[in-house]
Symmetry: C2
Subunit: 126 residues, 2 copies
Amino acid sequence: MRIGELAERAGVSTRALRHYEELGLLPAARSANGYRRYDEEHLRALVEIRTLVGLGLSLEETRPFVECLRAGHPTGGSCADSIAVYRSKLAEVDASLARLGAVRAELAGQLERAVRARCEFTLEET
Amino acid sequence: MRIGELAERAGVSTRALRHYEELGLLPAARSANGYRRYDEEHLRALVEIRTLVGLGLSLEETRPFVECLRAGHPTGGSCADSIAVYRSKLAEVDASLARLGAVRAELAGQLERAVRARCEFTLEET
DNA sequence: GCTGGCCTTGCCGTCGGCGGCAGGGTCTAG
DNA sequence: CTAGACCCTGCCGCCGACGGCAAGGCCAGC
């Protein structure tokens, strides 16, 4: 299939597909007229990429998964490198959760203090 | 004081201070020779900015706090606009926490599945 | 033959928060 | 008088993941 069809089937833009090819992430074969040609394997890889990006992985981080698929594995996650990315991403997410939790507490505290201060100020004023 | 001293006292770069001035966030008076001049009020505002940025607010979002200080309030959070920013940021953080929690679960699930699949594959292989 | 819808490459623009550099001016201590 | 430590403005660069546009090639149907 050509780039437009793949884009539509995967729900991404053709611009994104060209970008992935630039990165060497999703290289396409070429027809005689220079058009990019994609097959079902490309679609599978693309779905994998979008799923992982949806989980917060960068395009670079999806590379091991794509290469794993290209190596003939049933899923992109079946390779050591992919699992390493999973692990590091999980650690990263956990760190973010911890930081965000602390930020949330701080923010809630500041908000309450601010509201109370305004309240007292209003009382003083009247 | 001049820009270098303020930068050092607040632990920021002079480049950042010029950037804040460009944004109109921390405008400075000028000496006869064109040098920026800052006072203790500037330092207070700057500390407020850095604290809020540390909590994940954008520079634009710190603007109400700075203006609140400039209006003579004891803290930057004592104004209605600042409190609105607090609230919206808190909501934003809560949304992020929820999303990240879901992502974490998904990621952990995928990791476990991947590890298990590899395990079985290795067993098959031997 | 021509229109319209695909496709190609290439390159600039976006967002935020600065970093870094060039090419100057200013002030102070020795 | 000069070195060196400040300061100024202005402008390009960076990160990531594309968006968007121009200028052109290719192909199907009418």
